[in-house]
Symmetry: C2
Subunit: 235 residues, 2 copies
C-alpha cells in the first residue's frame, strides 16, 4: 500500500528580527532559499505568518504606557469588561482580548497592535512571495486568541489570501450517502492552529509552511470568517 | 542546513465501518499494520479519533425521531435557543450545538450522541493501542464544534489521554527575555483541528496520526479545557 496523502507543517527558521519597513516576504523567501530543499515552496503550499511580525514590519507598535487606551482605540465595541479582562470587537470585527494589543515578543516599553488590514497584508505577502520565489502560495496571518467556554488559546486566521477560508461540505454526501447540511469547516483557522505548533511563543519562529492541506484556491479573506453581529448569539 | 523539525499529519486509512461493540483500537492497530511502514506508531505520536466512530463503537446511537429530545436529554443547560439553533452545555460541560447530537455519517434513521465519558474512552483506546502495537500513543477524541463570533466549525478535543491538553508558556521568557504572562495554548484543540484536515467529512477516514507535535506527556484530560462556569463570561 502506498503512503496515504499527508499534511506537513514545516517551520521557516532563520528569519532575522523584523523591524518597521522590512520586506517581510523577502525575509521569508531568503530563509526558504537557505533552508533544506524540501522547505522550498511548491504549488498548493500555504505560508502562515504570525501577526506579530506583520505588525512589526508595518510599524504597528506603540508605547506600552498607552496599553489600555490602545486597546480601546482599536475597538469598535467592548463585548465584556471585568476588572482583569477586556473582550472587544476590533475595527476588523474580530472578537478577542484587549483588541489584540499585546506586549509579548516586542521590545520592552512597546505593545503591538493588529495590522490595519490583515487581509491586505496577506495579499501583499502572497504577491511578493510569488515574485520572489516563482510560486504564489496561499497566505494566512495567524494570531493567538482566547475562546468562549474553553480555556487556553489557539491560533486563528486574521488574514487570508489566495484561498477560500472555508471548506464547504454543505450539499455533499456523507459516507452513507446522506446530504451534509451544516458542515462548513473554517479550514483557515485550523491551518493557523496547526502552524502554531511549530512556531511556539518563545522559539522566535514566526512563519511556517503548511503543505498538503485541503484548501480551495480563491480570493477568500479572513473577514469572511467573522460572524455578522446580527447572526451572533454571543455579542 | 539540516531540515527543521516538522509535524506530520497522517490519515489512517482502511478502518472498516464501525459498529457497536467493535474493538476500535484493534481496527486502528490493524489499519496501521497494513499501511505504509512510516504510518506505524512511534514514541511521541498522537492518535486522533473522531467522536463519531467512538460513539458507534460504544453504541451511542438513538433513533433520529428523538433528535431534539436527545439534545435536551444530553444537556446540563441550554445556553442559547433560537428557532433554528440550540446551543447547550452537555453533561460533560462542552458548549456546542444540539449537545453534539448529529446525524452525519450514521445509518439513516439514527443520530449519534457524544460518548458518555470521552476522556475515559481516550484512556481505554490509548491503553489498548499500547498493548496491541507496543507503543502507547497519546490519544485525542475530536469533534466538530461551532464557535462564538466566528463562522464555520473546527475540530476540537472532547477526549484526551496520555498528554497535557495545554502547552503552558506562563512564566517562560519570550524572544526578548520578557516573561510571558497569559499564554497557555490549548494544543489538544489545535491537534484535533489539524487532524480534521486529513479526515474530512465525506472521506470515511476516522483516525489520524499527528507526529512531531510539541506535547507534554501526562495524565491530562479534555475536561481540563472546559472553562469553569464561574469564570466564563459567555454562558
Amino acid at each position: 500500500m502506498s503512503p496515504a496523502p499527508r499534511i506537513e507543517i514545516i517551520p521557516i527558521t532563520g528569519i532575522p528580527e523584523v523591524v518597521e519597513g522590512d520586506d517581510l516576504a523577502a525575509h521569508i523567501a531568503e530563509a526558504l532559499a537557505t533552508a533544506s530543499q524540501d522547505a522550498r515552496l511548491v504549488a498548493g503550499d500555504i505560508v502562515v505568518v504570525t501577526q506579530k511580525v506583520v505588525s512589526k514590519a508595518e510599524g504597528r507598535l506603540v508605547g506600552a504606557g498607552d496599553r489600555m487606551e490602545a486597546a480601546l482605540a482599536e475597538a469598535k465595541r467592548v463585548v465584556r469588561k471585568t476588572a482583569s479582562t477586556l473582550i472587544t470587537e476590533t475595527h476588523h470585527g474580530h472578537v478577542c482580548a484587549n483588541s489584540g494589543v499585546d506586549d509579548s515578543n516586542v521590545a520592552p516599553g512597546y505593545v503591538s497592535l493588529l495590522p490595519l488590514d490583515p487581509d491586505l497584508s496577506a495579499r501583499r505577502i502572497r504577491a511578493r512571495l510569488g515574485r520572489l520565489t516563482g510560486v504564489e502560495p496561499a497566505v494566512v496571518i495567524s494570531d493567538t486568541f482566547g475562546r468562549a467556554w474553553r480555556l487556553g488559546q489557539t491560533d486563528i486566521a486574521i488574514g487570508v489570501a489566495g484561498m477560500d477560508p472555508f471548506l464547504d461540505y454543505r450539499g455533499e454526501l456523507d459516507a452513507n450517502g446522506k446530504v451534509l447540511v451544516a458542515t462548513q469547516i473554517a479550514v483557515a483557522d485550523e491551518i493557523a492552529g496547526a502552524a502554531e505548533m511549530v512556531m511556539g511563543k518563545s522559539s522566535g519562529v514566526c512563519a511556517a509552511v503548511v503543505r498538503g492541506a485541503p484548501v480551495k484556491p480563491g480570493r477568500g479573506t479572513a473577514a469572511q470568517i467573522i460572524r455578522p453581529v446580527a447572526e451572533d448569539l454571543f455579542r
